[in-house]
């Protein structure tokens, strides 16, 4: 290649750079060309999602599906205004939010997708005896063997009654101590939930610049005031932006923390239980003396 040719290529690529870079910058700032060829400022909606195959709809119109790897969805080119956002997935209960999109800003949604039918499995106290095994032993009934899973869950229930304690002291141990954690005051990460006079409050105890969008204030915020009496609550399995609440009638509900734009999604998870506990992705609950589990990851 001659130096002249090289120079031409460089000049050409430089011209492409000069043209493309401002376009990318304008695009990323939300500027778009409208139907009548005017430059308009748009906003966007970001759906923080963990479910593969979920779709987002704006005002009933399909906009995007969650990818295989990146399941979050960024909907762009949204004109400023009020929108109904639906997030749907087959086999899951519909999630809806009414939001206001502002120019050059992005509203973030945290859809709580709950399966339409939650599969609960009983955890028996004793390991069931195999009938063929019974035949081999000449019909003699062996001594019932304790189910390890059952005893482990019972231990979890016992542990839950005690105030939460960290094995190692943390930088904010003192701050956590002032929260007086207990059955009606729970902490997950830096999100503190409390039940005071049958009203649920949330407080962010982290840094201001890390404040989650679904809390949106550094002050203590009222997020739930049901008519029924709250008997117990805990964070939703594997989530920080939702909680599970048990009412005095024994029903369990999953409720999102996000109350922005005056709408809060909540779903009944269990019709009746006497007590429950959340452990990572598992929810365990008693109906009478029978123990059941729901795996929120399956």
């Amino acid at each position: 290649m001659t130096p002249k040719q090289q120079f031409r290529y460089i000049l050409g690529l430089f011209a492409v750079f000069i043209i493309v870079i401002p376009l990318i910058i304008f695009y990323s700032f939300g500027y778009r060309i409208s139907d009548n060829f005017k430059v308009v400022k748009t906003g966007g909606i970001f759906v923080s999602n963990v479910e593969g195959g979920a779709s987002v709809l704006l005002n009933g119109k399909f906009k995007k599906s969650a990818g295989m790897i990146d399941r979050n969805m960024l909907v762009q080119n949204v004109k400023p205004g009020n929108y109904t956002v639906n997030v749907e997935k087959e086999g899951y209960r519909p999630w809806v939010k009414y939001i206001k999109v502002q120019e050059q800003l992005v509203e973030v949604c945290f859809p709580l997708l709950v399966p339409s039918e939650l599969k609960s499995e009983e955890i028996t106290k004793y390991i069931p005896i195999d009938k063929s095994d019974l035949k081999r032993k000449g019909g003699k009934r062996p001594k019932p063997e304790l189910n390890d899973e059952y005893t482990d869950v019972i231990e979890l229930f016992k542990e839950a009654k005690k105030p939460a304690k960290s094995i190692f002291p943390t930088w904010n141990s003192k701050e956590i101590a002032t929260l007086r954690l207990g059955p009606m005051r729970k902490l997950k990460g830096k999100i503190f939930l409390s039940n005071e006079n049958n009203k649920m409050y949330v407080k962010w105890i982290g840094k201001k610049d890390q404040l989650p969008f679904f809390i949106n204030t550094m002050s203590k915020k009222l997020i739930y005031a049901p008519e029924k009496t709250i008997k117990a609550f805990d964070f939703y399995p594997k989530r920080e932006d939702a909680f599970v609440v048990q009412f005095d009638d024994g029903s369990l509900f999953g409720v999102e923390i996000d109350t922005r734009f005056g709408y809060q999604n909540s779903y009944r998870i269990v019709k009746y239980c006497s007590r429950f506990i959340v452990n990572y992705e598992m929810l365990f609950y008693f109906v009478g003396d029978k123990l059941y589990s729901i795996d929120f990851e399956s």
Partner: protein, 406 residues
């Protein structure tokens, strides 16, 4: 004249290099071999040199073994001081003795692991004869680090091929070139500038700048577009290989020491046009700066604004678009890796019988390591070298250990 400096390298490695010279399609009787040993390396290298002389001495036109004395005041122990001493010895003991004109001798300064392909000297001779200013140019082949490519770990292979690709790119940008590693130059030119500087780490590129200043800017590198094979970094253990790669990259990046030399000489030399000085200044600033910073910037700029931007920034469209735009740009640029892998595979020697398990597939997917290698074995050693220079913690010449599996 072929300069083969060595330190404590294995006898087999030296033998293989000499055999490759013999196997060239060029009259070996017209080659002067200068096997340049180091006194500081002890007795064994001298014994090896003697054995090589005995074995190959009569096959070449001349075979000279030189021993660079240790502890010469003002010198830095390394390749530069060794080959400078060896070149002067060769001048006295071969050229002057045999009355060979300096203008008729082309010197190829190789590393001890440099394996030439059969047409190298034919190509070099043709290029020299066809050149309009053959005494005002250095001849630069493309170093392909593939001698031991099947033994070297993936990271070493990627770093090695990246170096090769860079040199291939440079071959197309003649005005930006300086000599690197193995190169060839007329003896008379070398003699005029006093050979390679003996107190430098990066003598290979410095010799170009020495010539450039000596000839008032009327000096250029001629790209040969012809390869020479060298060793990729390989040590006895994986971690030692990693350390060696880092040290080698740091040594290469220490070429930034040339910048002060260039600028100082520009200030003294009024015969070089100002526009030429300005271009070289820009090329060097851009080169050294981008080597040390670009990989880190590419790595950090995508998400740093989001971390540091604060809550207000994090609600903006640009904040949400940034990761996607960065990802897309990276995807476009990374697509070049497909091309890289194809070129790399084409440059590989045929798979040896003992390495049948090594599939070319691995030599393709290894390119996914590039983001890691350009940062850890590109930017960081460059920053290390430049920071050392800035604080006056001058580096010595670190000899890259040559190791090949049996």
């Amino acid at each position: 004249m072929i300069m083969l400096p060595f330190y404590k390298e294995d006898e087999k490695l030296i033998e293989k290099t000499l055999k490759s010279l013999l196997n060239c399609d060029y009259n070996s009787k017209r080659l002067i071999i200068v096997l340049a040993a180091e006194a500081r390396a002890g007795k064994e290298p001298l014994e090896i040199a003697a054995r090589m002389n005995k074995k190959f001495g009569k096959e070449f036109g001349h075979f000279l073994v030189t021993v660079h004395p240790d502890g010469i005041v003002g010198e830095m122990a390394g390749k530069g001081s060794n080959i400078s001493y060896a070149a002067e010895e060769a001048r006295k003991l071969v050229l002057d003795k045999k009355k060979i004109p300096y203008d008729d001798v082309l010197v190829s300064a190789f590393d001890i692991d440099t394996i030439v392909y059969s047409q190298y000297f034919a190509c070099l001779t043709w290029m020299f004869l066809a050149n309009e200013n053959p005494y005002n140019t250095s001849f630069q082949p493309v170093p392909v680090f593939n001698n031991n490519i099947f033994e070297a770990p993936a990271i070493s292979r990627v770093v090695a091929f990246s170096g090769t690709f860079w040199q291939m790119v440079q071959q197309e940008r003649q005005k930006r070139m300086a000599t690197f590693s193995s190169h060839s130059v007329a003896f008379s030119t070398l003699y005029k500038v006093g050979y390679w500087q003996s107190n430098m780490v990066s003598e290979d590129s410095r010799i170009f700048w020495n010539c450039y200043m000596k000839f008032n800017g009327n000096y250029i590198v001629t790209p040969m577009a012809y390869p020479v094979s060298m060793d990729a970094n390989l040590a006895h253990s994986f971690w030692q290989t990693m350390k060696n790669i880092y040290k080698q990259q740091r040594r290469w990046a220490y070429g930034v020491e040339n910048f002060a030399y260039i600028m100082f000489n520009f200030s003294k030399n009024q015969n070089i046009p100002k526009w030429e000085k300005f271009k070289i200044f820009i090329i060097n600033v851009d080169g050294y700066w981008s080597l040390a910073t670009n990989p880190l910037m590419i790595f950090l700029l995508g998400w740093l604004p989001i971390i540091l931007g604060g809550r207000e920034f994090n609600t903006t469209m640009v904040s949400f678009n940034l990761p996607y735009i960065t990802r897309d740009i990276m995807m476009i640029t990374m697509s070049n890796l497909i091309l890289s892998s194809m070129v790399a595979v084409s440059l590989m020697p045929s798979v040896p019988e003992t390495k049948k398990r090594v599939k070319k597939f691995y030599h393709i997917i290894q390119w996914l390591l590039v983001p890691l290698t350009i940062t850890i074995f590109g930017a960081i050693p460059a920053l290390d070298a430049q920071t050392r220079l800035m604080f006056g913690r001058y580096m010595g010449f670190w000899v890259t250990p040559k190791h090949r599996s049996e």
